[in-house]
């Protein structure tokens, strides 16, 4: 079986390498991919949209439909994860472990025995042994706000430097996941609950699709941001740049909350109880 697959893969690879001999050489400015549509994008997008970053201009304006449905794909992935994994049951998972914070002693509470959930001296810990790591917790607590500010910068500055909604959303989501890993899943969920992440992921898609609908209500085409010129009080070209910023914010919110949703469900296999 494995030898057969290896032979097949080698044959297919040699056929592809033979085919690659007809490809344009690396870095050829006259290659087919760079000679039909992309010169238009490079030469005209600054006067069309006043966005210097061509990737952002093409992503959110010329190919706005594509990006909108990519956002919907990400949203659908988050929904699929919840539908497949989330178990809503509040059933207790047997024993619980608590750490007495001043002394570091771990208590094991058996099933059915009551314990005050909110206590200053005790904190609940995961059933797999978790050492009390002050250095990791303190470092992550210090670093997370800066990561989040950098994520916001990447979203907001996507017009002038590499960045945009997708990248910034992933950075914001990674900051929350870092927090959840360094503390525990419960304290992350206390700060950003399931309901909030679901509402934010819906809000992100709504902002993107809603911008298109607003353009349509003014009487222009769907996602033609120059329709926003009268509302924003700027000329149509600048309005397209502002419209790109609005949809990038929507993409960023959707991507961040879907990343967090995926992590919550995968780390705890849908229980949102204890995880990595």
């Amino acid at each position: 079986m494995k030898v057969g697959v290896l032979v097949l893969v080698i044959i297919l690879g040699s056929v592809l390498i033979y085919g690659s001999l007809e490809f344009p050489p690396w870095g050829d400015p006259a290659s087919p991919a760079s000679s039909h549509l992309s010169p238009y994008y490079i030469e005209k997008s600054l006067e069309d949209t006043s966005v210097p970053n061509l990737v952002t201009a093409v992503l959110a304006d010329y190919r706005g439909y594509d990006t909108m449905f990519e956002t919907i794909v990400i949203f659908a992935a988050g929904m699929a994860c919840i539908f497949l994994l989330r178990s809503s049951g509040k059933e207790e998972s047997g024993t619980r472990l608590y750490r007495h914070i001043p002394t570091g002693i771990t208590l094991r509470i058996e099933k059915k025995s009551a314990f005050p959930e909110k206590s200053e001296a005790f904190e609940r810990i995961d059933s797999v042994w978790v050492p009390h790591d002050l250095i990791v917790k303190t470092t992550c607590r210090l670093i997370v706000p800066f990561i989040q500010i950098f994520g916001l910068y990447v979203i907001a500055h996507g017009h002038h430097s590499p960045g945009g909604g997708f990248q910034g959303g992933v950075i914001l989501g990674a900051a929350l996941i870092l927090f959840a890993i360094s503390f525990n899943l419960r304290s992350a969920i206390r700060r950003m609950g399931e309901r909030l992440t679901l509402m934010l992921s819906t809000l992100g898609v709504f902002i993107y699709a809603g911008t298109g609908v607003v353009c349509m209500l003014v009487g222009m085409n769907y996602l033609d941001y120059s329709a926003l010129a009268a509302m924003l009080g700027v000329d149509p070209v600048t309005a397209r740049s502002h419209g790109i910023l609005v949809v990038e914010i929507g993409v960023g919110i959707a991507v961040m909350s879907v990343m967090v949703t995926l992590y919550y469900n995968l780390a705890s296999t849908g229980k949102h109880d204890e995880g990595l």
């Binding site: 079986m1 494995k2 697959v5 290896l6 893969v9 297919l12 690879g13 592809l16 390498i17 690659s20 001999l21 490809f23 050489p25 690396w26 870095g27 050829d28 400015p29 290659s31 991919a33 760079s34 992309s38 010169p39 994008y41 490079i42 030469e43 600054l46 006043s50 210097p52 970053n53 061509l54 990737v55 201009a57 093409v58 992503l59 190919r63 990006t67 990519e70 794909v73 990400i74 992935a77 988050g78 699929a80 994860c81 497949l84 994994l85 002038h160 430097s161 590499p162 945009g164 997708f166 990248q167 959303g169 992933v170 991507v255 879907v258 990343m259 995926l262 995968l266 296999t269 849908g270």
Partner: protein
Amino acid sequence: MDAFLNVLISKANYWVYITLMMIGLYGIVAKQNMVKKIIGLNILQTAVILFFISIGAKKNATIPIIEHAHDGTHTTIAAIHYINPLPHVLMLTAIVVAVATLGVALTLVVRIHQQYHTLEENEILKRIQET
């Protein structure tokens, strides 16, 4: 010899991606473990992403961000000075969608493990036939 070197220099990037792609394909087909199959799928995806990015490259060109766009000093924008932005756009969305589909794939793997308590493909098939 020189002819071969010219071919090597101008086509070596494609060969690297083809190798990566074949590694990924081998992982998908030959490995029995579901997680290893997903890793193979991701390697294949990476090969496609690298292939697209290398299509956009141009010699003596810079990143697709117009220089001095708003300070009034920019000259005529020529397509030859900036690399092709289109593959970058396509792959930018593809990377994030790859992460999302990876999440769904791992979700399915978790569900399969809950149901059959194994991730080996042949054992799962055996247990499906038993029931």
